[in-house]
Amino acid sequence: MSQPDAAMISSVTSAAGKVIPELVLLGTVCINFLVGPFLVTPSGRALPGLRHRWGGIAIAAICTALYLWWTGSTEVVTTGPFRVDNIVWYVRGVMLIAALLLVLVNWSQIEDGKAAESHACLLAITAGVNLVALANDLTTLFLALELISIPTYLFLFLPRKDAATQEAGVKYFLLSVFSSAIMLYGFSLIYGMAGTTDLPAIQTALANSNQTPVLAILGMVFVVAGLAFRLTAVPFHFYAPDVFQGSAASGAALLSFVPKLAGFIALIRLLEPVVDAAPGLLLADVMLPMLWWLSVITMFVGNFLGILQNDLRRMLAYSGVAHVGYMLVGLNVGHHTTSVPDGIEALLFYLAVYGLMTIGAFAVLIAAERDNKPLETLDQLAGLHRVRPGLALMLMVFMFSLAGMPPTAGFLAKLNLFFAAWAQGDVSNRWLALFMVINAAMGSWYYLRVVGAMYLREPLDEHHGSHAPAPIIASVACTAMVITLFFVPTWLWTMVQTVRSS
C-alpha cells in the first residue's frame, strides 16, 4: 500500500525534533511559573537572594539550549510547520547569546519575589524569537511573534511599580496589540489571496498567478506596518522613547534589541517569498519603494530627534530608531539583484553587532545606577570617568561603536551596509548610502555628548554606584566582543555568509 501521507505525518511528528532548544527554554518557563509562586509569601516577598537562584536557572537553561544549538543537526528542512535552515541557525545563536546577556542585565533589576516570572518571560521571549526564524507558516509566525509580545508586556511591567513604569507598560501593551491586529489583518489578506498559510505554497501561488496581486500587496503593506511597529521604524516609532524612558533599564535593553531582531527576521522571511516570487509584477514595485522611504525617514527622524534628547534612555531609543533606518538599507539592497556583499548579509551582521552595542550600553547604565534609581539624564553621567573609569571606558566604546568609529565592530558593520548599498549599483540605493553618511555624521553628535559628559565634565558628587557583578560581566563581555569583532570579523561574517548561501 502506498503511503502518500507518510511524509506528512512524519513532518508533523518530527516537528518537535526541530525545536528542541526552544522546548528546553519553554520547559524551564513552565518550571518557573509552577514553582515560583510557592517560594514567595502572599504579599510578594521572598527570601533575599532568591533572584540569584532564578538567574542561575535561566543561565543554565540558555546554556543547555546553546549546547543543543551547537551540537544539533544542520540538515535543511523546508516543509512542515517549522523550517530549518542557516538563518535559523544564525538567529538561534545570536538570540541565545543576547538572552544570556539580558539575563545578566536583568539580574539586579528585579526584586527577589518577581525573579521567577521575570526570567521566565525572558526565556519565553528567547524561544519566541527563535520560533519566528523557524516559522514556515503564517500561523506559526504570528504565534511566535505573540510569544515575544505577551511576555514582553509582563517583563516591562514587573520590575518597578511607579507610575512611569505602569504607563510605559500600558502604552506598549495597547500599541503592540494594535500592531498585532494590523499585522494579522495583513496575514488574512495574504491568506485570502494565496489560499494557504504555508509560506512556500504562498510563494508558488504568487508566482503562478497571472493577475496583479492587489490583495497580496495590500496584505504586505499591513504586515510591514505591523512589523515596523516592532522595529520602531518611523512613523511607528512614537511609543519607543516614552516606553524606554518609563521602563527599567533591563526592559529598555530588551526592547532595544529583541523586537528589532524578530521584526527583521520576520520581514526577511516574508519578503523573500513574496517579493522574489513576483519580481516583474507590481509587488516589488510597491514594496521596495515603501521600504526605501521607510528607511530614509527612519534614519533622519531618529537622528534629528536623538540630538534633541537629554534623557539617556530616550536618546538611546531614538538611536535605536536611527539604527533601524540603517538596517532597512540592508533589507532594501538585499532584495535587488545580487550584490557584493549582499544586503541581507550586511543586515544580519549589523543586527548581531547592534545587539552587542546596545545591550552593552544599557548594562553600563545599570552598573552605574545609584541606590537602585535608574540613571535618567545626561547630567547624571557627568564625570563618570572620575568615579568609575572602567564603566566610562566601556560606555565610550559602545558610544563610538554606535557612532561607527573604528576600532569597534560598529564601524565594520556600517561599512558592510554601506558597501552593500553602494556596490549594488542602483542609483536609489546609492542615495541610501549617501543618506547613511549624512546620518552617521548627525548621529555622532549625540553619542559624542555622552562621551563628553563622562570625560569632559566634573562629577556632581562622589557617589560610586553599585558594584553588582552581573551587569558588569555583561558589559565587559559586550566590550570584548565589540572590539574583537573589529579585528577578527571573519568568524561572524562567515556565519552570515553561510546563511545566505543556503
Binding site: 557584493v340 555624521a441 555568509q497
Partner: protein, 599 residues
C-alpha cells in the same frame, strides 16, 4: 624587520594600556617618566626600522612598498555564486518570466548571472579587506617625524599637566600608535580606520586638558573632521566599487594593487572627478585648506601644548598624506583637470588669507595656527604641481612644517608656562629675561620663514618651483606667502623678544631661562631643522623612488594628458619640455642651489 615594525606600532599602544590598567592613579612624575621611556623606545625603534629599510621597492607601480605584511581581515564577497536565482528556477519552473528570456524587459535578477559582461569579479568572488601594513620612504619619513615629535610632546607637558597625568600620557601614546598606524596602513579601510581613530585621543586630550573653551573646541574639531571623513569614506567605498567592477582585482582595498590596476585601466574622467571631490572633502578639511580651516585656530588655542604639537606637527599632514597616497595615484585625470586648479586656487587664497590673519593676531599661538594654514597652502601647491619637484617639495614641506611648527608650539607653550599669557600686548623684550629661549624662538622662526640653510627653504623652493612649471601666477602668489610669513613672524620676534621689557602684572622674578628638560624637548627639533637645511639630500634620497613612481603617472604618456588638459583647462597646458623633469634633476637643482648658498 617585521618584528621591529610591529614593535614600533604596538609599543606605544601597549604602554598606554599598561599605564591605564596598572597605574591609573599614578603621580605626574611616574606617569611622565613611563611615557618618556615608551616614546624614546619607540623613537629608537623607528630609527632602527629606517636603518633597515631597503633603498628601493621590489614591485613597480605608483604606490609601492619596500616592506610589507599582509593578512586577510574580512572577505566581503560570498564564495558561492549567487544562489537565489538558481533556487527560483528550481522552485517554480513554469513562471512567466522564465518562458521569455529574450524579452528586453526581462528583470535584472534573471539576466545578470548569465551575462558575462556584468559579472562582478572575473578573478573569483573574493573581495578582501586586509591588514596590509607597508613602508616606503614617505611613510618612513612621516613615522620618524611622529616619533620624534611625540618625545618632545611628552617633555613639554612635563609640568603643564598636573592632574589625571596617567590618562593624559596614555592619550598621547595612543595617539602616537594611531599616527604610526596611518602611515603604515596600505589598505584603504585600514587607513581610514586609523585616520578616524586618531580623532579619539586628540578629542579627549583637547577636551579634558585644554583651555577655557575646550569642550566647544573639542566638539567642533571632532564633528567637523568626522563629517569630512565620512564623505571621504563614501568616496573611498565608491572608488573601491568602481575599481573592482572595472578591473576585477580581488584586493581593491589594497592601495598598491589598486594603483597598479588603475594605471593600466584608468577610470572614466567623470567618475574620477566625482570621486576626487568626495575624497578631497575629507582631506581638505584635515589639511585644512581655506574655506574649511575655521576649526584649526580655535582648536590650537584651546589645546594643551602637547596636543598642539601633535596636531600641527603630524595630524594636519594626514590630509596631505592622504592626497599623496589615494587621490594623486588613483585618480590622475581628476587630479590634473579638477584637483590642480581647485587646490591651487584654494591654496593661494589660504596662503594670503592665512598670512594676513596671522599678522593680525596678538595671541602668539593663534598666530602660529594661522601660519600653519599659510604654510600648508604652499605645501599643497607643491603637491598639486604633480611633477617631481613639486611632489618632493610638498613632502619636504610636510616634514619641515612639522618640525618647525612643532618646535614653535613648544616654545609658545614654554612662554605661556612662564607668564600664563601668550598675548603680544602683554609681552615684550623677553630676550633680556630668557635669552636662550628667545634665541631658539628666533631660530625656529627663521626655519619656518624658510631662510636658506634651514629646512623650510628646501620645501618652499621646490614646491614653488614645481608650481611655477605648471602655472606661474599661482607660484607667484604662493611666493608672497614666504614674504608674508617673514613679515608676521619677524613682527612677533620684534615685538615679543626685543625692545623694552614688558611683562604681565605680578611677580616674575622666578622666571628662568630654558631648563634642561625643555632643552631636551627643543634642541633635537632645532638641530633637525638645521640638519635638514644643510643636508636635504638625505630626506630627498629617502623619498625619491616614491616621488618618481608617482610623477611618472603624470608624464609618461605625455601627449594624451597634455591634450586632455588643453581641452578642459587651457590655462594649465604645459609644454613637454618642462614636463619631463625627473626627480634626479630636481635633486640636482637643489644641490646646486645649496652649494651656491653655502659658498
Amino acid at each position: 624587520m617585521t618584528t621591529l615594525v610591529f614593535a614600533m606600532l604596538l609599543l606605544p599602544a601597549i604602554a598606554a594600556v599598561l599605564m591605564l590598567v596598572l597605574d591609573a592613579k599614578a603621580t605626574a612624575a611616574r606617569a611622565r617618566g613611563f611615557a618618556l621611556v615608551a616614546t624614546v623606545a619607540t623613537l629608537i625603534l623607528s630609527w632602527s626600522v629606517a636603518y633597515q629599510l631597503p633603498a628601493t621597492s621590489q614591485q613597480a607601480g605608483p604606490v609601492t612598498t619596500r616592506w610589507e605584511w599582509r593578512h586577510t581581515w574580512l572577505t566581503l564577497a560570498s564564495p558561492a555564486p549567487a544562489p537565489t536565482v538558481v533556487n527560483h528556477e528550481a522552485l517554480s519552473p513554469n513562471v512567466i518570466r522564465g518562458q521569455s528570456p529574450e524579452e528586453p524587459k526581462n528583470t535584472a535578477s534573471t539576466s545578470k548571472p548569465q551575462d558575462p559582461s556584468t559579472s562582478r569579479s572575473p578573478s573569483g568572488d573574493f573581495i578582501n579587506l586586509e591588514f596590509y601594513l607597508g613602508l616606503d620612504g614617505l611613510g618612513m619619513a612621516m613615522i620618524l617625524l611622529t616619533t620624534g615629535l611625540c618625545v618632545s610632546a611628552i617633555l613639554v607637558s612635563w609640568s603643564e599637566i598636573r592632574e589625571r597625568s596617567a590618562e593624559f600620557y596614555a592619550g598621547i601614546l595612543i595617539l602616537e600608535a594611531g599616527l604610526i598606524g596611518v602611515f603604515l596602513a596600505y589598505d584603504l579601510i585600514l587607513f581610514y580606520a586609523f585616520f578616524e581613530f586618531t580623532l579619539l585621543p586628540l578629542f579627549l586630550t583637547i577636551g579634558v586638558w585644554g583651555g577655557p573653551k575646550r569642550r566647544y573646541a573639542a566638539g567642533k574639531f571632532f564633528i567637523y573632521t568626522l563629517a569630512g571623513s565620512l564623505v571621504m569614506l563614501l568616496g573611498l567605498v565608491s572608488l573601491v566599487v568602481e575599481t573592482q567592477s572595472l578591473t576585477g582585482i580581488s584586493t581593491p582595498f589594497s592601495m598598491p594593487d589598486m594603483a597598479r590596476a588603475l594605471q593600466d585601466q584608468p577610470l572614466p574622467v567623470e567618475t574620477q572627478t566625482i570621486l576626487f571631490l568626495l575624497i578631497a572633502t575629507g582631506f581638505l578639511i584635515k589639511v585644512p585648506m581655506f574655506p574649511f580651516h575655521t576649526w584649526l585656530p580655535l582648536v590650537h588655542v584651546e589645546a594643551p601644548t602637547a596636543g598642539s604639537v601633535d596636531l600641527a606637527g603630524v595630524l594636519l599632514k594626514l590630509g596631505c598624506y592622504g592626497f599623496l597616497r589615494i587621490a594623486i595615484p588613483m585618480l590622475p585625470d581628476a587630479s590634473l583637470t579638477v584637483g590642480q586648479p581647485l587646490v591651487a586656487i584654494l591654496a593661494v587664497i589660504g596662503v594670503v588669507y592665512g598670512s594676513l590673519c596671522a599678522y593680525h593676531q596678538t595671541d602668539i599661538k593663534r598666530m602660529v595656527a594661522y601660519s600653519s594654514i599659510a604654510h600648508l597652502g604652499v605645501c599643497m601647491l607643491g603637491l598639486f604641481a604633480l611633477n617631481a619637484e613639486g611632489l618632493s617639495g610638498g613632502i619636504c614641506m610636510m616634514i619641515n612644517h612639522g618640525l618647525a611648527t612643532g618646535a614653535l608650539f613648544s616654545l609658545v607653550g614654554m612662554i605661556h608656562e612662564r607668564y600664563h599669557t601668550r598675548s603680544l600686548t602683554d609681552l615684550g623684550g623677553l630676550a633680556s629675561r630668557i635669552p636662550l629661549l628667545s634665541a631658539l624662538l628666533v631660530f625656529i622662526s627663521f626655519a619656518s620663514i624658510g631662510l636658506p640653510g634651514l629646512n623650510g627653504f628646501i620645501g618652499e623652493i621646490l614646491s614653488l618651483l614645481g608650481m611655477f612649471q605648471v602655472s606661474a601666477i599661482y607660484a607667484v602668489i604662493g611666493t608672497t606667502g614666504v614674504v608674508l610669513s617673514a613679515w608676521y613672524l619677524l613682527r612677533m620676534v620684534q615685538v615679543g623678544l626685543f625692545g623694552p621689557l614688558r611683562e604681565p602684572a605680578g611677580d616674575h622674578s622666578h622666571v628662568s631661562d630654558l631648563t634642561v628638560r625643555e632643552g631636551l624637548a627643543i634642541w633635537p627639533l632645532a638641530l633637525a631643522c638645521l640638519g635638514l637645511g644643510l643636508f636635504p639630500q638625505t630626506l630627498l634620497n629617502l623619498i625619491e623612488p616614491d616621488v618618481k613612481a608617482l610623477a611618472v603617472i603624470y608624464y609618461e604618456p605625455d601627449e594624451v594628458i597634455v591634450q586632455k588638459t588643453d581641452a578642459i583647462q587651457p590655462s594649465f597646458a604645459m609644454t613637454n619640455s618642462t614636463a619631463i623633469v625627473t626627480s634626479d634633476q630636481a635633486v640636482e637643482t637643489i644641490s646646486s642651489i645649496q652649494t651656491g648658498e653655502r659658498r
